[in-house]
Amino acid sequence: MTESGDAPLPDGVTRRSFDGEDRLATRGDPVYGEPTDGEWRLWDARRSKLGAMLELGMDTGLDGGETVLYLGAASGTTVSHVADVAGPTYAVEFAPRPARDLVDVAETRPNLFPLLKDARKPETYAHVVEASVDAVIQDVATRGQARVARLNRRFLADSGRLVAAIKARSEDVARDPGDVFEDVLESLRQDYEVLATESLAPFHEDHLAVVATPR
């Protein structure tokens, strides 16, 4: 496992000064009232687990320009930044209310494809999402996060990356997060080689970031 800390940012993500502080930013249409600086808009690590991974210097393997399948897109906060820097971006969300906002976010982003689907049922979108995507980014915060990642392995190129935020409380509120993460990783290892893990504190408590590649 690699020690993270100073991995380069994907192309299209930069650090800019907002209110005197160096923050992540991408170029695109503003989405959720985030501060902007010219054509750059702030990517808030506190509101985005992927943002937190980049802020922490984790090596996600994302360079920019890749084809992405994003699971758990919610109202599109994070996936809007992903679409700013990636190529074709498929965004899966199963709750209708956030998906309504996601559609609005996608409207102005021609490379963002919103899908109201259940990430536990990949066969309901395998006729739309292309094979061999470069990255599966996952933030579903629901019970069975390892299972979701494994079920969606079929979309990933052999050299592709799974970039997942695992929320301990979604699996079991009562158990020790460390034990929960161990179980999740053990399950993931059936189908993936885990390349790096990192706690997302202080941005997100009891969340583990996982970067993995198919095995």
């Binding site: 559609v103 919103p114 066969e123 006729h127 999402v129």
Partner: protein, 282 residues
């Protein structure tokens, strides 16, 4: 699965590239086990000229499909809302009845309490000998009132998703009541505004139709500040105006689902005019 999509086919297969409706429904209803290199397949089969063309069509179809699917799913949520608001009313009614029983009983033991708050007071007591059964009943009463509060929070959080405009104009709870009384958002959207105006006043309406009593001017919308807070001689017009705007709001919610804040302003202005007219001649 849509009949026109063979198993193991891409979302676009055998469909006319200009037929966005069919493409959208294929996205929503289709399925296959293994993904393929769909962009190449689409270009080979002449669905798209090149990759850019493919992704442009995919974008149009996914946005349309997801917009429609969201609307349909939210409509199904109106039924959840209907049950929740009915359950909320049941819990409140029963909690109030039980609270009355509790205060009567407590009175016989020398305590002076009233209402649900009174029942909570009794529930918090360390029961003295002979009071156990009363305190237990008071606990149940308080729990039922808590359940009603939870249901109210649930309704308040769900209603704006189901009917954003109606919830903004009526408030989430009244919006849910109207949906429940009509049987669903679609039924409400299809009602004439005169019917919406007397929803919840069916007993009075039927009495009137039987020739007993006057025609009711307002049903459950009476609880709205714009009717209740208007002076009695203008309540009829206020109820009519409110019902008219709520009907429009329900239609926008059902047919488009877009939030239209200008509806709020129109209603505010209408009511303001009703309340201030005639003031000059006073």
């Amino acid at each position: 699965m849509a009949d026109h999509v063979p198993a193991n086919a891409g979302w676009f297969e055998n469909l006319d590239p200009s037929d966005v409706d069919s493409l959208a429904s294929s996205i929503t209803e289709g399925s296959t086990t293994e993904p393929q290199d769909w962009p190449s397949r689409a270009i080979e089969s002449n669905f798209a000229d090149d990759e850019d063309d493919y992704y442009a069509r995919l974008h149009e179809a996914t946005v349309e499909a997801t917009r429609q699917a969201v609307r349909e799913r939210e409509r199904a949520d109106d039924q959840q809302l209907k049950h929740a608001v009915r359950a909320m009313d049941d819990c409140e009614r029963v909690a109030n009845e039980l609270a009355e029983r509790v205060s009567e009983w407590a009175g016989s033991l020398g305590m002076d309490v009233a209402g649900v708050d009174g029942a909570r007071e009794v529930a918090a007591r360390d029961p003295e000998p002979g009071e156990e059964q009363l305190v237990s009943l008071a606990e149940r009463t308080a729990e039922l009132a808590d359940e009603a509060d939870d249901l109210r929070s649930f309704v308040e959080s769900r209603a704006p998703g189901v009917a954003p405009n109606l919830s903004a104009l009526a408030g989430p709870v009244l919006a849910a009541r109207l949906i429940a009384l009509a049987g669903g958002l679609e039924q409400l959207a299809k009602m004439p505004s005169g019917t919406v105006q007397v929803l919840g006043a069916e007993d009075a309406l039927f009495a009137h139709l039987r020739g007993q009593g006057s025609s009711p001017k307002h049903g459950v919308i009476f609880t709205h500040e714009y009717v209740r807070g208007t002076r009695p001689d203008e309540r009829g017009p206020a109820a009519r105006a409110l019902a008219g705007k709520l009907t429009i709001a329900a239609r926008v919610d059902h047919y488009s689902g877009e939030r239209r804040p200008e509806l709020d302003d129109e209603l505010d202005r209408r009511i303001h005019r009703i309340r201030t007219r005639g003031e000059d001649d006073d």
